[in-house]
Symmetry: C2
Amino acid sequence: MSSINTAYSQLPPAFFFTRLNDTVSAYADAHPDRRLLRLGVGDVKGPLAPVIIDALHRAVDEQAQAASFHGYLPEVGTAFFREAVARHYGRWSVDVSPEEVFASSGAADDLGAIGNLFSSWARVLVVEPAYPAYVDTNVMAGRQIVRLLGTRENGFLPLPTEELDGDIVYLCSPNNPTGAAYTRSQLQRWVDWANDRQAILIFDAAYEAFVQDGDVPRSIFELSGARTCAIEICSLSKTAGFTGMRLGYTLVPRDLVRAGLSLREMWVKDRTTRTNGVSYVLQRAGAAALSPEGMDQCRQAIRRYQQNGRILSETLTRAGRWFTGGRNAPYLWLPCPEGKSGWDFFRELLEKAQIVVTPGEGFGQGGEGYVRLSCFGTREDTEAAARGLLTVLR
Amino acid sequence: MSSINTAYSQLPPAFFFTRLNDTVSAYADAHPDRRLLRLGVGDVKGPLAPVIIDALHRAVDEQAQAASFHGYLPEVGTAFFREAVARHYGRWSVDVSPEEVFASSGAADDLGAIGNLFSSWARVLVVEPAYPAYVDTNVMAGRQIVRLLGTRENGFLPLPTEELDGDIVYLCSPNNPTGAAYTRSQLQRWVDWANDRQAILIFDAAYEAFVQDGDVPRSIFELSGARTCAIEICSLSKTAGFTGMRLGYTLVPRDLVRAGLSLREMWVKDRTTRTNGVSYVLQRAGAAALSPEGMDQCRQAIRRYQQNGRILSETLTRAGRWFTGGRNAPYLWLPCPEGKSGWDFFRELLEKAQIVVTPGEGFGQGGEGYVRLSCFGTREDTEAAARGLLTVLR
């Protein structure tokens, strides 16, 4: 038996977004005169909010003096950052203790590491279409993947049934890529199902800041019973524009116990063994972002993205198209016209209207025949793209 | 079979350094009048060098403007950082291509993740005493650990024999905790042994900046044949005082192929799946640290630590004690007098002379009966500790 993890060769040869970027670059190089309207990869536009910039400069200045210099930090996160996250949750009445909060270098990093806690026999249930790492990290670990598909019929919000089985379940709401978001009563069904079976929900809350509707939970821990069945992984990437800064947090409640083991204590062990924590400077920036003043400033950017969501939603409605998202998430999810594949419609939009979208095929099963539109473009690009979309779709 | 990774319960209940810190805190609380001379945990004193501080402020200012804002970055590292690392190696004639360099959030993080590349059947050979994560991360992954022990007889620099077996070998030189460093000809024996058996060396080069002797390699890639058998994991923690900043790099050469798979390509897959890269701001700081001007400034701090190493070495020599380290590494490794355990001698030094050291037991087999002295204290503390040591040891 090989000492090399040959499961890596089961992954596609290049990560989907790399391939996508290469295609777009080739088009841009061939048509230097055409301006691309980028509603593809979900990156923020920046800049960081003033209160974050101030906190960063101050933290850097601390590192410039021996008296205020910070060396090694707690691997699980600094007290000030963990408390800032706990207060953030407290603002919408979710009771989280700082000891249940773990600083991370971003949601992607903790999604990449959380599988450490599970054995290779764990059956992984992924609600697809989905962020590809849910599947790929588990393929790399040799785990069996079971899929539950979002469809037009279930509004891309599939619910568990009695027969459904799985030890670990990845849920993302508000969802990337579909923009759909579970309501409180829908999410409660997942929590109840997990508690019934001793399954664990890995809840990706990266888009919580975009929630507008009162009946859409921002955290799995708004649901009764979630503390005994869920881990929440979140990020400041979309909340505060940290895609290039890299900071997030993971919540592992004390009440989550399986096989007699506290998952929170396991995660403490994992972090103290596998990391030396997250940069002091970044944690200061994160605490500033999560302060009331920081959140006020960050919300200005989020409102701009939400306005883009309204522009795109109105356009698709005007074109008479069914779609999901655009309201509680910065994505819209659109079936391709005339049974086209996502890649074909992606190319059509690129060539006819210079709109860059993301083919649904990048998000696993159930993504074929759809494209994802992002709300992270500039207002100008979004408006131009809306006009182009209307022309192509009519 | 459990869906939970029960291997975690095979780890000791708390990470060694947590326990150590608690003991020292309890002593400090009980004796508020006594000044502790901290030669324990290997943390730097700071501050960061001016050229690094300037780079940080500039990078933060870039994030304050939409026009210069950086969002998502290549998961493997930015071109400017990878090139800065390649140039750093080029300065002592090690030929590394930027594509073989991967940015990390520190050596600890990549030591925590590199095991992903190996199957659970891989036999792991650890040269102990050692940094505990080499063993613990592999215990967590359910791998079989084989130990090769450093002893007074082999100067804590054990060499491979014909019979020795293992698929992955962790080597750290200059070494933490012993301060011993392999010479070129010794390290060449490890490289030849690994190539003979298709084993892979995981070479921890975190202390390369402390090397003073011309026949001690700073990189495994100074050795002929290393490109077909080694991965190097390095850090800016000790080189540039980044313990609280969190930035490192890992080198995976193109020529490293096993079971028909390129480990470099596997690591690209791993990083693109499991991370969204390292902070732009930190990578700018790292590139500044690795510039010729940055290295000049960082060397001032390293020279201070090296001077501490001389003070402690002279003291132990004066006391007629055998020890390793203190010259090419910021640690000294000392057998405890009268057959005491490391923990007992640690307590004796704390109570009689208020010197904080690290009991050798924290570094696995072969550590029992030794203590580690760190050179990262202030000059004043180091001189006071030297006087105290002399009294206790005589």
